[in-house]
Subunit: 228 residues, 2 copies
Amino acid sequence: MKIGIIGSGMVGRAFALRLAELGHSVVVGTRDVFSTLSRTEPDSKGIPAWQFWAKEYPEVSLVTFSEAARFADVVINATEGAVSLLALNEAGDENLTGKIILDLALPLSYAPGRPPRLMFANDDSLGEQIQCAFPAAQVVKTLNTMSHNVMLNPSILPGSHNAFLSGESDEAKETIVGLLTQFGWPADNIVDLGGIETSRATEMYATLLFQIAKVRGNYDFNIAVVMK
Amino acid sequence: MKIGIIGSGMVGRAFALRLAELGHSVVVGTRDVFSTLSRTEPDSKGIPAWQFWAKEYPEVSLVTFSEAARFADVVINATEGAVSLLALNEAGDENLTGKIILDLALPLSYAPGRPPRLMFANDDSLGEQIQCAFPAAQVVKTLNTMSHNVMLNPSILPGSHNAFLSGESDEAKETIVGLLTQFGWPADNIVDLGGIETSRATEMYATLLFQIAKVRGNYDFNIAVVMK
């Protein structure tokens, strides 16, 4: 499958490698290719500059947001939620038409010494905002309830645990379930919550995710729905 | 332990029975004892009138909110979240001073054909509002991430699953963990998230709880934190 990743940070890179490893054609999009390639210092989160990372992974090419979207059948939004709409706008409505947008992002604001906080919740979600901004694309919100290590390799955790799906298009959700099973997600562990409005539920869960991570001191966990 | 339950609905009654069964002294508080005792019709949720229910359980006595709070060492808020502050105000600040308030409630609004929705979230929580309104009480928010059947009998679900704790007083949380272990919660499955502000996390999770319940068609489930 042709996959364009919007965002060249830690999550975008991890997705690029895993998808390339699975045999997909992957490009990573960034706002300004020249500026990303010129950087030598780690970013504010300590992620090494692209050029050093890319030396080890020459199979992943860096393009603009709009080139990544134009190339792709499935566009993965791996930007920070606070800038996702800006990045997708740069990708261009015309390049997103008819495409599936797999949205991983959480709309977070950060303050020192505190867990991240949602910028909005309860009566809105980033999943809905993206679907609303790009009505000719099919947005599927999923995997946003865990760290990217778990997203891409669910079997690092023991036993059964769950991912959730929200989106308006059953066909698009089916395609994404196909990708997730390639990552190692048993189809039975993917809970389809319904339309894109149900993104509110998984985005709001993030507040509990961050509190659990704070108590545990890491993100190597996920939730399982335990039933009778 | 002397336990006063604020709220004579389904949840209050279920707690009363379970706590009485465990040997605690329990009273159930209602806004207007005479009116609750006079009712003959089921309530809007189909819960039978108190008088019919109470015939089978004469060990549980019905008192006013303020009598229930005055009697108790631990006050359980089993009212609907939308009216919890009103009910606790009627219970009276003077009767809640020095008491533990175990807060189970979710601040929900209802609309036909849709899952319940939080009245507020993200920058506020009912747990915090109650602690703020009754600074001389110790509020512990817990069990609000599951149905009352699971709260009171966690072993109806297989294997390990979790409850969360939020509150300012470690001593009060210890008392509540003691109660929860009597219900069947292994202490290791109770995750202390920190201060009362972390109620936001568990209250916001409710949106996902309702979506999962909608997909599954029942509330016979809970979440487990699955770790490496």
